[in-house]
C-alpha cells in the first residue's frame, strides 16, 4: 500500500541536501524531505497513522502497522535544548492518527536560540526509489501531503 506522508508542520519544502546536518543531508538514516517551518508557536503533527515508536522533546518516530516508520526532527541539534520550549502531547507507544498533535514547539524561539528550525521528515531505511518526492520550494499546510512512500519491493 502506498503510504501518504503528511507534513508535520506548515512551511516551505526543501531537499534534505539543504539541511545543515550531515546525517540528514547525506540521508544516512533514510531519504525524505525537509520543511522550513513558519514561525509558530505550533504543534507538530503525526505524518502517518501508527504508533509512537520513539519520543524525544524535539523529535519523534511514528511506525505504521507494516513496519515503515517516519522520523520527524524539529530543528537541528535541538537535543541541546534539553526539552526547553517543547511540549509533548503523547506518550511513547501511543497510537496516533495522521494529523494528530504530537509535539508543541516554537520555531522562531529555536532560531533565536541559534539553532536551525528546519524539520527533516525521514522515511527510515527506505530506498530513494521508493519515495515520490515533489520538487522543493512548495508551500505546505500542516498535515498536507509531503511525499508518497511506495511499498518495499519483494
Amino acid at each position: 500500500m502506498k503510504l501518504r506522508v503528511g507534513s508535520p508542520v506548515a512551511g516551505r519544502t526543501a531537499t534534505l541536501a539543504r539541511v545543515p546536518d550531515p546525517v540528514f543531508a547525506r540521508a544516512l538514516v533514510g531519504p525524505g524531505l525537509a520543511v522550513w517551518p513558519e514561525d509558530g508557536p505550533a504543534d507538530a503533527v503525526a505524518p502517518i497513522d501508527g504508533t509512537v515508536a520513539t519520543l524525544h522533546p524535539h523529535a519523534f518516530v511514528v511506525a505504521a502497522d507494516d513496519g515503515r516508520a517516519v522520523l520527524v526532527h524539529l530543528g537541528i541539534d535541538t537535543v541541546e535544548r534539553h526539552g526547553e520550549g517543547f511540549t509533548s502531547h503523547v506518550v511513547r507507544g501511543e497510537s496516533v492518527r495522521a494529523g494528530q498533535p504530537v509535539l508543541g514547539w516554537h520555531p522562531a524561539a529555536v532560531r533565536q536560540a541559534g539553532y536551525s528550525p528546519v524539520v527533516p521528515v525521514i522515511a527510515l531505511d527506505a530506498t530513494t526509489a521508493a519515495l515520490a518526492i515533489p520538487p522543493e520550494g512548495a508551500t505546505v499546510g500542516v498535515g498536507q501531503e509531503l511525499f508518497v512512500w511506495s511499498p518495499r519491493q519483494a
Partner: protein
C-alpha cells in the same frame, strides 16, 4: 540472543576508559571522548552503523532509531 552491538561499539570507541559522556539522540550516539583518535571507524561500520561524523570533540555514531536503546545499554557497561 543478546545484542552484541553495545559492547562492540564501546570497544570501537576505545573502551570504557575513553568515554567522557555518551548520549543517545533519535538517530545517533553522541560520544564525548578523551581521545578521538582511538576510534576505530571500520569496526563501528561492522556493527551496522550507518556512518561516523566528527564534530569538534564529539564523535557521532549514526546507528538509526535504536540509538536510545543502544546508548542505554552502553551506559550499563560503563
Amino acid at each position: 540472543m543478546a545484542d552484541e552491538r553495545p559492547r562492540q561499539i564501546l570497544a570501537a570507541l576505545g573502551g570504557v576508559d575513553n568515554i567522557v559522556d555518551i548520549e543517545g539522540c533519535v538517530t545517533r550516539l553522541r560520544c564525548e571522548l578523551r581521545d578521538g583518535s582511538a576510534v576505530d571507524e571500520a569496526a563501528l561500520r561492522r556493527t551496522g552503523a550507518h556512518g561516523v561524523v566528527r564534530m569538534g570533540g564529539v564523535v557521532q555514531v549514526i546507528v538509526g532509531p535504536e540509538a536510545d536503546t543502544i546508548a542505554g545499554d552502553i551506559q550499563d557497561l560503563l
